[in-house]
């Protein structure tokens, strides 16, 4: 089989797995940089636009829920942001994931590179835009009433699990959308539905107890409860919520990678 030259034979299709992904890390970098550059080309505020949307959303929800509905929650803006920012991350990545393979069809049909790089670059692109928003949360954290709890140290780990979960969903959707081109419209509707059945702007225990079992099926509920536990309450939720979140992540990533690896090559013919 193929041998390694003084340069790795990078476009060698027989090279597979993690090694070839690492070899293409500069492609990922160039790709994400291109997407960001193109997106904010000529925009006076540039990168800052990625902040304006979440800030307006937060402002509106704070107004509606603490002024109009008079929520009795202390530090409601922090309560809201802890859930909403992570929801935004999820919905932006999954909302865009349907289009990734189709949008890059010209490339995928003309050059061989590890196909996994297409969804990975879409995820990284959205994470980079999102970093500004989460950085702002941490800067404002003490002013919003946040305390430096020791549990904050597990935040990066939980975030990684959450991203892995989202990535798995992305893989599944990007493949399915090639087969069913109207999937993205369905995804938009499902995302809208999920937003309101996830306790982001309201409290979990406001859900009537007999419906709570139904809501608890959603992995987003688990993750929002964990993120809010870390950033707002200063304690992790019960172990079975943690276990469910891990289980969802493992399931999503396993199914996603399986589906993608199984179908990515033959999808080229259907793009």
């Amino acid at each position: 089989m193929a041998k390694t030259l003084e340069h790795t034979p990078l476009t060698d299709p027989s090279l597979s797995g993690l090694r070839s992904l690492l070899a293409y890390s500069d492609m990922l970098r160039n790709f994400v940089r291109k997407d960001i550059q193109v997106r904010y080309q000529g925009a006076a505020l540039g990168f800052l636009w990625s902040l304006i949307n979440p800030l307006v959303m937060i402002g509106l929800y704070v107004f509606v829920f603490s002024v109009v509905f008079k929520s009795n929650l202390p530090n409601y803006p922090l309560y809201l942001m802890a859930g909403l920012l992570h929801w935004n991350l999820f919905s932006q990545i999954t909302g865009q994931s349907c289009d990734t393979l189709l949008a890059n069809a010209g490339l995928v049909k003309k050059i061989y590179f590890p196909r996994l790089l297409v969804p990975i670059s879409s995820v990284v692109f959205n994470v980079v835009l999102w970093l500004l928003a989460i950085a702002l949360l941490f800067i404002l954290y003490p002013f919003l009433g946040g305390k430096l709890h020791p549990v904050l140290v597990v935040y990066p780990v939980v975030l990684l699990f959450f991203l892995a979960f989202t990535f798995g969903i992305t893989l599944i959707l990007s493949v399915l959308n090639v087969l069913f081109r109207d999937l993205k419209h369905l995804v938009d509707v499902v995302l809208l539905f999920l937003f309101w059945v996830t306790p982001i702007v309201y409290q979990y225990h406001r859900i009537p107890p007999h419906l709570r079992q139904l809501f608890a099926v959603s992995p987003l509920v688990d993750y929002v409860l964990i993120f809010r536990g870390i950033l707002y309450s200063g304690q992790l939720p019960s172990w079975h919520i943690l276990a469910m979140a891990v289980a969802w992540t493992v399931a999503s990533l396993t199914v996603g990678l399986f589906v993608f690896n199984r179908y990515a090559d033959s999808l080229v013919e259907r793009l």
Partner: protein, 246 residues
Amino acid sequence: MRSLPDEVVQVEHVSKEFILHHNRVDSLKGKLVGLFKDRWRTRHEHFHALSDVSFTVRRGEAIGLMGRNGSGKSTLLQVIAGILKPTSGRVITRGRVAPLIELGVGFHPELTGEENVYLNASLYGFRNKDVRGRFDDIVEFSELAHFIDTPVKNYSSGMYMRLAFAIAVHLEPDILLADEILAVGDAAFQEKCHDKIASLRRNGMSIVLVSHNEQQVRDFCNSFVRLDGGRVVETGIFRTKTAHTR
């Protein structure tokens, strides 16, 4: 010199079958209606684009894939490039493969020439630091030094092709897969392309050139494979090796 086995491309009994979707429906609604209504259902037909194709390309050899439109030559090139997986058989390639199936794939019109050089090269698996070392050569070859920091949307089609070609030949491929493209630009620039390819071949680069133009194949290649209906119908060697004696 690199120590590589002499056979850089081995195509072994490759067959490629496409499923043609007549009346293809790619929507959920269509699929659902198709369960009940015949008219909405997709009809599938198996189409053999390649049947039992075998040949070998040796180091430094240039082979022309000839045949009429639809004979399977471009499909074969995509299989060698790893873009399509063969239905049966296998392809072994040794070394760096540069598919020139279309020039300027992955160029983004809003990015400058320089940014596109790095982007395009990285699509072929190049590290940015390796491209940096070749960047000046690429720009010099393309004769675009004055325009390299302007967006490629402002380039003429000739400039665009020159940059794309310059990138491809400076990635020092071991195997160049070309679909009709081996020279771009005006007569003088084409001459330069030919010289560059000749010098790369002297250093051991192999070429697989797809063309329906017999003269082009004669100019560049020392052997050929003729396809018809996805089968190899003729193979041969050209007596006069024009490419070497230029």
